[in-house]
């Protein structure tokens, strides 16, 4: 199903149809679908610089979208807008049918973000960090949940060591534990492989594969095409503030995707 082709929106629903055939006849009008992430014509400018230009993106529940793109393409800005950290200059963003700015706190409850920065306090232990964030999210039965997520990322033995003594890979795993704790339905990963050695990257890949289970929706920004393709259900290429290409993974020619990427990025006039 090509998410970009849908046109008509009801209230919190998309009524979508196949593109009109020759002569203007519309087929299959009665076909409805909910999108967990639904942004339309979103733009963001910083002064004279346009970071995002009319980006429209619709994702179904359970999708795993990998976004590739060169530096400065606006990928992180897009994630910041989707996670409600930055307000768009124009456009509409709905998460699970809720408008970003109307139901701010409610939306943030359902979103987890793993960035190349860990959001962890160096002078606290993993337990203390998770306890702190758990309180912020009102996680029930917090102690038990901390033990579960810390076990899930394989850091139980280091639970009471200060985070400042951790390697980059361990920080990243702990960061994922932090995100998993409130069990969000949407997870954004902003270059999670940055600075990881091969072993840590493999470990992270296994954790990301586990994240896919269930109907969690994930968007991952990465420069690593190989890693992105092996876990995603959809791929997108973002260039100069626009999504220049988006496709389901089944329809992507994996062997030639790198060439496709460079061709798309090289065109650079979107």
């Amino acid at each position: 199903m090509n998410s970009l082709s849908h046109k008509w929106r009801g209230d919190n629903e998309w009524i979508y149809y196949s593109p009109p055939i020759e002569g203007g006849e519309i087929r299959n009008v009665d076909f409805r679908m909910n999108y967990i992430i639904d942004c339309e014509k979103v733009s963001k400018s910083y002064g004279n610089i346009s970071a995002l230009r009319d980006v429209s993106l619709k994702l179904e529940k359970g999708s795993f979208l990998a976004i590739f793109g060169p530096n400065g393409a606006g990928k992180t800005t897009l994630l910041k807008i989707l996670s409600n950290l930055v307000k768009p200059t124009s456009g509409v963003v709905k998460i699970n049918g809720m408008s970003l700015h109307d139901e701010d706190g409610e939306i943030r409850k359902n979103i987890g973000v793993v960035s190349h920065n860990s959001f962890l306090y160096n002078n606290l232990t993993p337990y203390e960090n998770l306890e702190f964030y758990g309180k912020m999210y009102d996680v029930p039965d917090l102690e038990k949940r901390i033990a579960e997520v810390i076990d899930e990322v394989g850091l139980t033995a280091r639970m009471h060591d200060p985070v400042r003594t951790f390697s980059r890979g361990m920080m990243q795993r702990l960061s994922i534990a932090r995100v998993l704790m409130p069990d969000p339905s949407i997870i954004y990963l902003d270059e999670p492989y940055t600075g990881l050695d091969q072993h840590a990257a493999m470990k992270l890949r296994d954790i990301l594969k586990n994240l896919k289970k269930g109907d969690r929706t994930i968007i991952m920004i990465t420069h690593n095409i190989e890693r992105g393709l092996e876990v995603c259900t959809h791929v997108a290429i973002q260039v100069m503030g626009k999504i220049a290409y988006m496709e389901e993974i089944e329809k992507v020619d994996r062997d030639n995707f790198e060439a496709k990427y460079f061709k798309t990025v090289g065109e650079g006039h979107y």
Partner: protein, 225 residues
């Protein structure tokens, strides 16, 4: 109720980190001690009445060492982009402000509780019968200082020259508060009646309320990109 639990979680997180590192408290305390000692040695207390200058010296020690603490306060939140992590949580952003402000207030009050006895000894000033009124003035003055200071600390944390910018931004705003605090401290130390300081106390209280409300309401917009 949940709101205040979250505010307290932020305060406790800062206290926990401070107990481990002692970075904020030690720098504030050592600086205030140095200010008191330097003034004590640079002024001949046999020729100058300590009560003429002591209140000014005390508030210089408080405000300048307070700036050191405020500078570091949001710096911890910048490590690993924790402020962004905090902003991603579903809490009201005003809770972040209140938590950070209360943390700063606690650190400053502890520093002051240790600095005041040292000040009393160095300047040979008796405060035993004035402790409560002095504590009220110091508390209200410090509350106003950290109320504005926390807001400006959040504003300046992304600026490269933040150590310079914070005092430049903060001091012009808190001048009325500092003047009122110095005047009322002086009146208390010289044993003037309560009626003499009530107008200054009112000014401090109004400053505290106005800036607490303004900072509380504007913090969300200050920390947004």
């Amino acid at each position: 109720m949940d709101y205040f639990k979250k505010v307290w979680a932020i305060v406790w997180k800062d206290i926990r980190a401070e107990i481990r590192t002692k970075e904020i408290f030690s720098s504030m305390f050592i600086f205030s001690l140095l200010v008191l000692v330097i003034f004590n040695f640079s002024i001949d207390l046999l020729e100058v009445n300590p009560l003429d200058i002591a209140q000014g010296v005390l508030w210089i020690a408080f405000t300048f060492s307070g700036i050191l603490g405020l500078n570091r306060s949001f710096l911890f939140e910048k490590e690993n982009d924790c402020l962004q992590g905090l902003m991603l949580t579903p809490i009201d952003r005003s809770a972040i402000y209140l938590g950070k402000m209360l943390g700063n207030l606690i650190f400053m009050l502890i520093m002051e509780a240790i600095a005041v006895p040292i000040f009393v000894v160095l300047f040979n000033i008796g405060i035993y019968d004035k402790i409560i009124s002095l504590a009220i003035v110091i508390f209200l003055g410090t509350l106003g200082f950290v109320t504005v200071g926390t807001l400006f600390s959040a504003m300046s944390v992304n600026i490269k020259a933040r150590e310079v910018m914070l005092p430049i931004l903060l001091f012009p705003i808190v001048v009325p508060l500092i003047i009122a605090s110095v005047k009322s401290t002086g009146a208390i130390l010289t044993g003037k009646p309560f009626d003499d300081i009530i107008s200054w106390l009112k000014l401090i209280a109004v400053f505290d309320v106005v800036f607490l409300v303004v900072s509380f309401l504007s913090f969300e917009y200050i920390i947004e990109e």
